[in-house]
């Protein structure tokens, strides 16, 4: 596993932007946790706190026209790929200014203009879809790549093995990024999963790399190497990013799940906060003062508050929209 990373290979601007994006994700998720407890959100949410370095490191290696597919725990991927927090918040409130006009909610946010082919409510559901966008890009002679984000739980779905296989034999520009946060819903992944997930790459004939998912720089460069190979037509890569989710599988789980994670384990991972760790490195490197760091944080908090206001002021869609958007209008051709 890559445990050290070279800050010097990043530009200062990139590094600060990455810190900012991680903070934005953290503050967004923390706000959702509060809003959920207050009963402000329809439905339920799966939060990404603690795993911010994976999405931000990975997406910082992408171009805007590259693509991602994401998971039920997808808010971090969306923000890292450039989604606006106000439109995300509006979607989570079921409002018309949401990315999907309130049709999708937390698990189905899609923005094609940002290359976000979708978060997904089915564990593993996005894996074939991202493999397919990579197929199309390769077929059409483009050099775009796709990152498929999925969790340790999804690594036991059949489509994961099938997709790695076809991506390998077709040489597709796809990067499979497995976020191993240690728990398959409420059960330790070690009880359910044979071997190491990263080792599933070798029998498919593709490179596999395990990365410290709490180290945003390590994530950035692991994904950058995979992206470079993919763009050159050298095929897919599997990356296993090891991390931990601070919140539960979903908010409100304490009502039914009980205590299933040891306190010491949770405390140990919080000690390894990916944002604090990275921020301290930037301070040590004299790329950022503590005041500047605090200013970024308060700016992001203000943006999240503004996003909530935006969402609350956005109207619900007209109820008749429930009947729209099923099919594209047919167009007659000669």
């Amino acid at each position: 596993m890559t445990t050290t990373s070279a800050l010097k290979d990043l530009s200062q601007d990139d590094a600060i932007m990455m810190l900012r994006n991680m903070i934005r994700i953290r503050r967004f998720e923390e706000k959702l946790s509060v809003l959920f407890k207050r009963g402000k959100l329809p439905g339920f949410v799966h939060l990404y706190t603690g795993e911010e370095a994976i999405a931000v490191g990975a997406c910082s290696a992408l171009r805007t026209d590259d693509r991602i597919t994401s998971t039920h725990r997808g808010h971090g991927h969306l923000i890292a790929k450039g989604a606006r927090v106000d439109r995300m918040m509006a979607e989570l409130f079921g409002r018309v200014d949401g990315y999907c006009r309130g049709k999708g909610g937390s698990m189905h946010i899609v923005s094609f203009e940002l290359g976000i082919i979708g978060t997904n409510g089915i564990v593993g559901g996005g894996i074939p879809i991202g493999t397919g966008s990579a197929w199309a890009d390769r077929h059409l002679g483009r050099d775009n790549v796709t990152i498929v984000f999925f969790g340790d739980g999804a690594s036991n779905q059949g489509v994961f093995f099938e997709s790695m296989n076809i991506a390998s034999v077709w040489g597709l520009p796809v990067i499979f990024v497995c976020e191993n946060n240690g728990y398959t819903e409420w059960t330790p992944t070690s009880e359910l999963t044979a071997g190491n997930i990263v080792d599933r790459a070798a029998p498919m004939g593709i490179p596999g790399e395990a990365v410290d998912g709490n180290d945003v720089v390590a994530m950035r460069f692991a994904v950058e190497r995979a992206v470079e190979r993919a763009r050159k037509g050298e095929g897919p890569t599997l990356i296993e990013a090891k991390s931990y989710r601070w919140n539960g599988h979903n908010e409100g789980e304490e009502a039914f799940a009980g205590a299933y994670r040891p306190d010491e384990e949770q405390a140990a991972w919080r000690e390894r906060d990916p944002i604090l760790t990275f921020g301290e490195r930037l301070v040590e490197n004299e790329w950022l003062s503590r005041d500047e760091w605090a200013a970024i944080d308060s700016d992001e908090q203000a943006q999240i508050e503004a996003a909530v206001e935006f969402a609350e002021n956005s109207p619900f869609p007209d109820a008749e929209e429930a009947l729209d958007h099923l099919f594209a209008p047919s167009k007659e051709r000669a």
Binding site: R67, H108, I117, G125, H325
Partner: protein
């Protein structure tokens, strides 16, 4: 009719008519690609020979991974391809059900209409004679309930070609079901490319006493029974909806308005069949048009058995259709 003497009428097998539609669309739009298991050699036949003209990248063999290649089309269509998938056998849809029903059918709707997904999933389907339970399914009733999939089920070579063209040009996921037993049926098919709009049914035989709505391979059965009953002075109108989503209810109701009697013949299990849907809709919207209780002719609610007498018992026969028609006239 004089103009027809200029060229001999082309008689073409159903499976060739499908292939003509596929070939025309591969030629018309370079973003059209066909994938599936053994589409190069094409055991069933719809894609046979196309790889020679369009190459192995546009007619591409996949591993036996239905869930994945059905789902790959969603991502591929979202970024610009127009994938056409040969599933080979109708039951294989069940292997890919999440990617079909949760992903392909829902992504456009869930995204608030952000994306079009021009995908065709075609397959041979339905009983073909002792193919047994896992190779005889007709999945259209289940798929009609998904919402987000158009469903095409042609009954003639002419419709097979025109509907294939429309299915591939359509900007939505379309399931195209070719009844196995129709593959070797011949009929007139123009050489040029033409399209038949999705959602427009066709009266295959005009009549005045009873409307028989028949779907896919049930159409030739219904026509055979109708011709037999003609000798007894019973005039049967055979309506072929051709597509089940969208469903041409106007045509069906117009026909029932003329005849006052309805039988629906569906090559699928009775429960929640297309026949059930059509009978329910006619009962709701056209109750006053009916002179007799509408009848459904469909399979018994069992998997399709292997042994010939068992299979015959479970599926629909000409005499089932005959009896249902007579029941509406009693």
């Amino acid at each position: 009719m004089a103009a027809k003497t200029v060229t001999e009428e082309r008689n073409v097998y159903f499976i060739e008519a499908m292939r003509e539609g596929l070939r025309a669309m591969l030629g018309e739009d370079e973003n059209v690609v066909i994938i599936g298991e053994d589409v190069g050699r094409s055991v069933i036949g719809a894609t046979r020979g196309l790889v020679d003209d369009f190459g192995p990248m546009r007619v591409r063999n996949t591993p036996i991974s239905e869930a994945t290649f059905v789902g790959m089309c969603v991502g591929a269509a979202a970024v610009g391809l127009r994938p056409v998938v040969d599933l080979m056998v109708g039951s294989f849809f069940y292997v890919a059900m999440d990617q079909l029903a949760d992903q392909a059918a829902k992504l456009r709707y869930m995204s608030g209409g952000q994306v079009n997904l021009p995908i065709v999933y075609f397959t041979a389907t339905g009983p073909s004679g002792s193919a047994a339970a896992q190779h005889s399914e007709n999945p259209h009733p289940m798929l009609m309930n998904v919402a987000g999939l158009k469903i095409v089920m042609p009954s003639t070579p002419y419709d097979a070609k025109g509907l294939m063209v429309s299915a591939i040009r359509d900007d939505n996921p379309v399931v195209y079901l070719q009844d196995f037993v129709l593959g070797g049926v011949r009929g007139p098919v123009p050489e040029e490319t033409y399209s038949i709009p999705l959602g427009v049914g066709d009266i295959k035989r005009a009549g005045k006493d009873v409307t028989v709505v028949a779907i896919g391979a049930a159409v030739p059965k219904a026509l055979r029974v109708a011709n037999k009953l003609e000798a007894e002075g019973i005039s049967v109108e055979v309506v072929d909806p051709r597509t089940l989503v969208p469903l041409d209810m106007d045509l069906i109701l117009e026909s029932v308005a003329r005849t006052g009697r309805l039988v629906v013949v569906d090559n699928a299990r009775l429960t929640c069949s297309a026949a059930s849907e059509i009978v329910a809709s006619v009962s709701e919207k056209g109750f006053d048009l009916l002179k007799a209780a509408p009848q459904r002719v469909a399979w018994e609610n069992v998997p399709v058995p292997f042994s010939p007498p068992l299979e015959e018992r479970a599926l629909i026969s000409d005499s089932d259709i005959d009896s249902a028609i007579r029941l509406t006239l009693a």
